[in-house]
Amino acid sequence: MSTEAIQSRRDWLLSERPASRMQARLGRAYVAWRRFSANRLAFVGLLIILALLVVAAFADVLAPYSPTIGDLKNARLLAPSAAHWFGTDDLGRDIYSRIIYGSRWTLYVVILVAIIAAPVGLLVGTVAGYAGGWTDAILMRITDIFLAFPKLVLALAFVAALGPGIENAVLAIAITSWPPYARIARAETLTVRNSDYIKAVQLMGASPFRIVLRHIMPLCISSLIIRVTLDMAGIILTAAGLGFLGLGAQPPLPEWGTMIASGRRFILDQWWVAGAPGFAILIVSLGFNLLGDGLRDALDPRSGDQ
């Protein structure tokens, strides 16, 4: 594409007089994207997360060995080499392949928890904040009860009740991670509920349901996205922690936390068995944190001229 075409496209996006709904929306997204991509570290975070997505999608192609079937006779606890990049574990399985397949489980946990916990928190928080009075008191006291427990301990209790397994771990983490989102959403709601533009919508005759859904929630979503992205690292660690304690993913599932747990026995002599998945968790957590920081700068309505 010629530079002129690029220039005219940019002008179209940044136009002060958008001619259609689509153009206004795209222009807004473009401004946010420009602010985001100006932040180098955030861009690195985005690249890490994109790489994780690609690895998870093409695990079958990328992994040189099977993640579950090892060579017990010849390949137990081999050090990292050209044949086995991250070495092999006590059952002769290639750790590199297991980490590649493990990325799927990491994504599975993170995405499911975000999909369950964020909307619940958003709904509870905005309804409590907008309704006020008794509704607010009841919903927020429930939130406080959940917040009073340390996250991992509460998740442990839930997993103990539900039984071990990755689905139950996801459920337990989701149950324990919505309260902070409810708090954020409620705080945001309280700052806007008495503003004139909400009063104006009330004067249009809008139902409370419509006001919360269409006018208040969109204002809470950006701070929620930021918080969820920053929490992703914590979610991965909690999932890994549950896996490590034997309450999350069960062997032979190549989940990173479970892999660290099984490498614990050889940690002094064969460090790579626990080290490699640990490093993978570190990188992905870092990626989500950097991404979250970048999103905060790009989406925060109070910064800049959005």
Binding site: D196, K199, A200, Q202, L203, R210, R214
Partner: protein
């Protein structure tokens, strides 16, 4: 009797504070009625109480012959609309003008939305070029025009104006006031207008009520106010204050 809006013995109590102490007024259909008084005199509260945004403790409000209870139904919002004081706070920061104007139409189930939005923007002197802008891409005067368009799009018969120009600078003020005058003449609207600026009130309104600390002080016509034919000391003070700072030799 053709009172578009009448208020009788209205009391508004916030927690324990009596913001309005039994105020009564009557606005005739097609009339422009002013409310003046210092800050905190309860004039905005009176407007908000009529709109259903303030807690009414006692008294009655009648709109076009219909007595209003605690709640407000959709029919009410099609009769009465309000323009807020601060144009920077009354438009949703994440919605385009288009979306803002569409909302009332969607709520009330109007089918010909496209046409109405175009007509409303034309009526307030904003072309369709403004239609897909966000509030932050508009100036104060343009924002207030959008707010007026939003109030008019449901075709109400009564418009409540809460100091619609006090946040704007002088030249823009005149534009917005002229726009309001023009709209009123064309649509035969009834205005209930709050202002602390006596010049604006005498320019816009035929009759007015002076308020102080939640009570009505006196009812005047615009010509009485211009001719200083007032009976209460408070009104006299207000008039003197509005003439501005006078240097005494």
């Amino acid at each position: 009797m053709n009172a578009a809006l009448s208020v009788d013995g209205l009391e508004v109590i916030f927690d324990r504070f009596r913001a309005l102490k039994g105020v009564s007024l009557e606005v005739r259909s097609g009339e422009s009625y002013g409310l003046v008084g210092e800050s905190g005199s309860g004039k905005s509260t009176l407007l908000r109480a009529i709109a259903g945004l303030a807690p009414v403790a006692s008294g009655s409000i009648t709109v076009n012959g219909k007595n209003l209870g605690k709640g407000r139904d959709k029919a009410f919002y099609r009769e009465v609309q309000m323009v807020f004081q601060d144009p920077y706070g009354s438009l949703h920061p994440r919605q385009t003008v288009d979306r803002l104007l569409q909302e009332p139409l969607a709520i009330h189930g109007f089918a010909d939305g496209e046409k109405r939005i175009e007509r409303a923007l034309d009526e307030v002197g904003l072309g369709t070029g403004f239609r897909f802008r966000y509030a932050h891409q508009l100036s104060g005067g343009q924002r207030q025009r959008v707010a007026i368009a939003r109030a008019l799009i449901l075709e109400p018969s009564i418009l409540l104006l809460d100091e619609p120009t006090s946040a704007l600078d002088a030249s823009v003020q005149a534009e917005v006031l002229n726009l309001l005058e023009e709209v009123r003449r064309r649509r035969k609207l009834t205005f209930l207008m709050v202002s602390h600026d006596l010049a604006i009130i005498t320019h816009m309104c035929e009759r007015l009520m002076v308020m102080q600390s939640g009570e009505a002080v006196e009812n005047l016509t615009a010509s009485q106010l211009v001719g200083h034919r007032v009976t209460k000391d408070y009104t006299r003070n207000l008039l003197r204050a509005s003439e501005g700072f006078v240097r005494t030799a």
